[in-house]
Amino acid sequence: MTFDVKGKVVLITGAASGIGAATARLAAARGAHVIATDLDGVKVQGIAADCHCIGLTHDVTDPHDWDNAIAAAVHHHGRLDALVSNAGIVNYEPIIDLDMARFRKLNQVHVEGSFIGMQRAVAQMRKQADGKPATGSIILTASVMANCVAPGISAYAVAKSAMANMARAVGVELGRKGDMIRVNAVCPGPTRTPLLEGVMAPGAMDDPEHWKDVPLGVPQEPEDIAESILFLISEESAFMTATQLVVDGGWSLT
């Protein structure tokens, strides 16, 4: 049972690994035209080769890279139907030791990156609408950390809550201005991604102990988030905008 994304032109950032790569693979497998981008151009080319789609080097903090990525979508597929602003980094650091440069970097990548991307994507969606209400779906990969916290996560939590509320603000604004462009945030709980594995002891995420705080008790995989993202891209979520979809196995319940 899948939700149709066939023929949709989808730009996915942070697509070289984790949730972005899983979304690119799943979207491509279900017939979407994917533009997979990442700061790591070599690695994203590998993903692109796997899913027979376009892979691009893309620094989401650079407006020119955004112009380039959207131009690629239009050049190859004539339009842009969905943006998955997914590129992210993580930081664990006690607040009193928090380095301002790293704090800013977190916000630059997540918040400014999504901001620039949304501006560019909306401009393209309006341009291709041909005078009719513009359509499209924008998904920001936020986090359950948008609404809850853990020690050491302050900079990341700030960035992710900004993303989640930005999705809400932009969703309302676009709707009120007469667009049918939808903006939603997906809020994953702990997910087995290279990003998270990178800040944990080796093998920690393969240990069942690690998942005992998650009521569903099994590792959350990148594909689990990808499925939610694809639902938000599909027309079956056409009445969803300005929402946060939490996917966390119940982790944030207690």
Binding site: M1, P215, L216, D224, S237, F239, M240, T241, L253
Partner: protein
Amino acid sequence: MTRTAIVTGSTSGIGRATALRLAKAGFHIIATGRSMERGAETVAQVKAAKGSAEFHSFDVTLESDWAAFADTITSAHASVDALINSAGSFFARPLPDTTLEEFRALCTADVESVVLGTKYGLRMMRDTRTAGSIVNISSLAGLIGLEDCAAYCAAKAAVTHFSRVAALEGAQLDPKVRVNSLNPGVIYTEMITGAYGDSDDVKAFVMDGNALQRVGTAQDIASAATFLASPAARMITGTAMLVDGGRGAD
């Protein structure tokens, strides 16, 4: 093996649309409701769309009815994969004019029905050893206020939070059962037209209140319910999934 989905309140509105959408996804539909005639119509619509369905008439606010229904279902079916608790009621009236009896009646129709549905849903899934999914249809009104609707808002807030606790309990079963609330904004169904009337003014109110400025349909909610019932939502439990056209965001 055929997967089965129970849909309460499937004699109209969101329940009927959800039964049809789940049937399209391959579920055998166990439709429930009060009216035999309207239940037969839901079954006919599912069958016309090449699905399979059966109808059981019972009162979702009576525990004895749920107990008998659960026995019937677990004897006849190898698994209960999804339960959509969609049956519910609504009224709008200023609080000073609302009687305690009216308040209680709404809590019975909207909260007790879901509490019983979830209780017997968990039992049916436990007894058939199914890693099932329970979707409780709540409302945006369970998350934000709606004037003249104190009883409805209180009832739907109860459904939303009850579902979170039920998610924790469902996760203790083996195999684990997922429980979520689905919180629609104003959806143009008989529940709304029954309370406010079916007119262009009502339609305009329904549209203007949400950011997307279109009428929310039963199909919009049916799609979300089907998503929550599906393996695509394998890791979603304890969530309040909002489908409201942005109505609650501003």
